[in-house]
């Protein structure tokens, strides 16, 4: 699979096109790329000492959590269904979504795309890294950097995103808001 150049290329092109739809603010077309049962999830990361750290002597090792992206959703900043994504897009169309009025200038960079077999037959597990540059107003700049794990599913002869897991590589987010999509 990771040795099928044409499939990897196909997936890359799919993700590049998806990114361009976002940068062109074609949000409805973008939404159509997701399956109806998609879970779209993004979280930030915490600062935790590994168990091996000598900075602390752990009192209660049994309960100690080492992972800095808690699976328990504790740091999720987005946790969306297709419905809530649609509602977010509808909100942007009201003419009163002030965080995006005037709109952000975004540029999505999709990198390091890797493809693996998915759990289901018609599915793929796709890794990629992202840099999303957001420029706003006169001089505001944000770089959103992190990794994605997508599950792509073949539906009606086309690929759709059945799950998107985004990890944003920050603890205290430097951007004043996350009013864009990834």
């Amino acid at each position: 699979m990771r040795n099928d150049p044409d499939l990897i290329r196909e997936i890359e092109q799919f993700l590049y096109r998806e990114a361009r739809l976002l940068d062109e603010r074609r949000f409805d077309d973008w939404l159509a790329l997701f399956t109806d049962d998609v879970r779209y999830w993004m979280a930030s990361r915490s600062n935790r000492y590994p168990k091996s750290s000598k900075a602390i002597a752990i009192l209660d090792p049994a309960r100690y959590v080492e992972d800095d992206v808690t699976g328990a959703d504790e740091l999720a900043v987005m946790d969306e269904t297709k419905e809530t994504l649609a509602a977010r897009i509808a909100r942007l169309a009201t003419g009163m979504a002030w965080a995006e009025d005037p709109p952000s200038r975004t540029r999505h960079f999709v990198a390091n795309v890797e493809v693996e077999p998915g759990e289901a037959d018609a599915e793929l597990k796709v890794y990629s890294n992202f840099i999303v540059y957001r420029s706003r107003a006169e001089s505001e700049e944000d770089f959103y950097v992190g990794a994605r794990q997508d599950v792509l599913r073949r539906e009606g002869g086309a690929w759709k995103i059945a799950r998107r897991r985004l990890v944003l590589d920050q603890n205290v987010l430097s951007a004043k808001n996350v009013s864009i999509f990834f």
Partner: protein
Amino acid sequence: MNIDMNRLVDSERGLLDRRIFIEPEIYEEEQRRIFARCWLFLCHDSQIPRPGDFVTTYMGEDPVLVVRDTGGAVGAFLNVCRHRGNRLCRADSGNAASFTCAYHGWTYGNDGRLTGVPYLKEAYHNELQRERWGLVPVAQLDNYKGLWFATFDAEAPPLSDSLGEMAWYIDTFVDRREGGVEILATHKWAMPCNWKFPAENFGGDAYHVHWSHFSAVTTGFSVGSTATPASANRAVSPGLGHGLICIGGDGYGDPPMPEIQAYERDIRPEVQARLGPRAALVNPIVGTVFPNFSLLRGTSRTLRVWHPRGPDKTEIWSWVFADKAAPPEVKEAVRLAGVRGFSPAGTFEQDDMDNWQECTRTCRGVAARQMPVNTQMGLGRERFDPALGAWTSDYGFSESNHREFYRRWAELMGTADA
């Protein structure tokens, strides 16, 4: 100081001098006269349930370590090594019997005592009195209904006096049911604004919702409130700078999820019984405990601190909370309501940022700086309501709480610290 602190706020006329949002020397004074003297929120009990559990936070710009010791007692200390002043603990949270400084290895117990000094005998000849060089504790530490507060001022009145009647209003957020609440999610991010704008906003700015957040309301991110400004909405201030927005006791202002709506209707009798007769009169949905701790129940349920980071920078540390006694599906719904409504990506919260940023940035202009900020809505019409133990506005939209917030601010800024 070249600036007369007593001339900056005109509560009678509801006018504010815009320098209070931008002048570095005023910001520095705020650190001394407000953040070093007021009771500040640290964390919720549920974040450190077991012995050794700790979280790190800030009081103003001072790094603070809050830790439950091996015996189960909670302590709060400057997160600063007493030796050369290195930050002691660099993790957000965790569990520890002791903390060791990365620089020279001084070790402190989870009770703050200095337990280990390498070469104490050989290098210090045991002359360093460890008992005198433990972590510096806050001057006063107290817990109200699971909320930990502290102050650096030993002379400050006790927490109960500093909260006053606000205590009951806090109950309506965190003590509605047996067991109180628990934290479900954490969000931290930076905003380019002065800390007072979000604090005043959560303390009483019902007025901005109809415009700033109309897009989220109309696209289903809130069912809105059953109350109307004309009817039951009120700006309520128990004094001391604290303020809340309340709807009527019979009103609802909850997140849109059906699970939550149903849950709220089910528990309403229990809650009103627990909170007492006043709960039949008012239903607080958002408020600010002076100076920088806010509670929210409408649309999303979060506790948050507005950490000052300079005149034009603030960090939001926000926690989604739910009744501990709520069923799992309700807690999950509450978590999602928080993530989707009030978080860096919250459909409500994201639209507040530019406003607070630009209210701050326009203060840079020498001409703009001379324009007073207007907080005159409902000026002179607030009345003290004995039943509420608080001043209440005459109408659902009012800036009576803004005036109280800045009156208190000026009171503290006008009196030098010891």
